[in-house]
């Protein structure tokens, strides 16, 4: 049977990918962050699952105003790095896992989570930057990936509670997959940040710390946050943190915190990462 081994939350700031792609990680601005990646990468090197479900969002790249979905599952054999306006990142093509992806789609819909499906989706920094953070610069990504794209741009985004419940339904589906494989799940985006408006650059370390602590000890507390709580306290783009709730919902009730990283600034954001293992 398939087995979920662990979850990770990480910001997916494009600047991190650009720093790696352009060989700037030794510069003063980046040194501390990349030092913080070392234990995270060491853990990932020892814990590569056969398949990783990456919960992320598209940033006006492959999904746009003429049609967008609240939750969309990628069922293709492979997903190319997208041209987001400056040419595609020169990172490996992302290999999918259509068997598990379709198993998830079928089980989630029968479980009343009405997923949209895509077989043709170029993936932007929301998905490729977390892979770079976990695995550095390999010739090929060591895990297969199922992209799970969440709308976090167009209001109203799914609620924090709905995201958590989706995670729980994903777990039920993983547990019923007959192939003997290991699975990981990542929630990406956040932490507090606001990119647009006169308030651009706002961050809120207290809010972030609470969110991370709750993720470990009291995940339901993070499901009670409203859209306006996120917008007001974590910045308009901080609402990406709802995607971490999908990851958390899929894990056991009791989890062990393996690693945490928090760093201000990365571009205009508070960077956060956490690794959680099932107890």
């Amino acid at each position: 049977m398939a087995r979920l081994i662990a979850g990770m939350g990480t910001s997916h700031v494009p600047g991190v990918g650009a720093a790696m792609d352009n060989g700037k990680t030794h510069e003063d601005y980046w040194v501390e962050l990349f030092k913080g990646f070392e234990p995270l990468r060491a853990w990932h090197a020892e814990n590569v699952p056969d398949v990783t479900i990456v919960v992320f969002n598209d940033h006006a790249t492959s999904m746009t105003l003429n049609h967008y979905s609240t939750f969309m599952m990628g069922v293709a054999d492979r997903f190319r790095p997208a041209d987001e306006g400056w040419g595609p990142r020169k990172v490996p093509v992302v290999e999918g896992h259509p068997e598990l992806a379709w198993h998830l789609v079928e089980n989630l819909i029968l479980d009343e989570f009405d997923m949209a499906v895509t077989a043709d989706f170029d993936v932007d920094h929301g998905l490729t930057v977390p892979l770079s953070i976990a695995y550095d610069q390999p010739a090929a990504w060591p895990t297969k990936v199922i992209p799970l794209c969440v709308n976090v741009i167009q209001y109203p985004q799914p609620t924090a509670l709905r995201c958590f419940k989706l995670g729980q339904a994903i777990r039920r589906a993983i547990d019923s997959f007959e192939e003997d494989i290991t699975v990981g799940i990542w929630g990406t985006g956040g932490l507090s940040h606001q990119l647009g408006g006169e308030r651009a650059g706002v961050v809120n370390p207290d809010f972030d710390r609470n969110f991370l602590d709750n993720l470990v000890h009291d995940p339901m507390a993070n499901t009670r946050l409203t859209h306006t709580d996120f917008i007001r306290e974590a910045g308009a783009e901080g609402i990406e943190m709802i995607m971490w709730n999908v990851m958390r919902g899929a894990l056991d009730e009791q989890v062990r915190e393996v690693y945490r990283l928090y760093h201000i600034p990365v571009s205009a954001t508070a960077y956060g990462a956490i690794i959680l293992e099932n107890e």
Partner: protein
């Protein structure tokens, strides 16, 4: 128009149905810059390229002026205006700084973030500011 509780958050443009409708064609123009051939066409003649989208004259002018805060006021979303900044080969902090009130240079914005970012205290509600 329906008011929303988040309208009270200062300096913040939530991309809701009001902005979706107002900014639809403006955002679709921005999105087109994901394609290399569209970037080339825009670079060749910005005005002519903008004419191919059914945007308002005010929206076109704000693009030409790179007036980012005006673009948000006219219905753009920041992930879409990114496409213009990227096209100009500028780091996003240039745009963040221009949108800030009062406006900041790249260096000033970068330094504010290095110093811990814009504080949340005093920036939660219009009643505070």
């Amino acid at each position: 128009m329906t008011s929303r509780d988040y309208d009270d958050v200062p300096g913040t443009y939530v991309f809701d149905s009001r902005n979706y409708r107002k900014g639809y064609h403006l955002n679709m123009f921005c999105m087109s810059l994901n394609k290399a051939e569209c970037r080339e066409e825009f670079a060749r003649d910005e005005k002519a390229y903008l004419e191919t989208f059914p945007m308002t004259a005010e929206q076109r002018q704000a693009v030409l002026d790179r007036d980012y805060i005006r673009l948000l006021q006219l219905g753009a979303n920041v992930y879409y205006t990114f496409k213009i900044v990227s096209h100009d080969r500028q780091p996003p902090q240039v745009m963040y700084g221009k949108m800030s009130s009062p406006p900041m240079s790249f260096d000033e914005f970068q330094q504010m973030m290095i110093n811990g970012g814009r504080p949340i205290d005093g920036n939660r509600s219009k009643k505070e500011s």
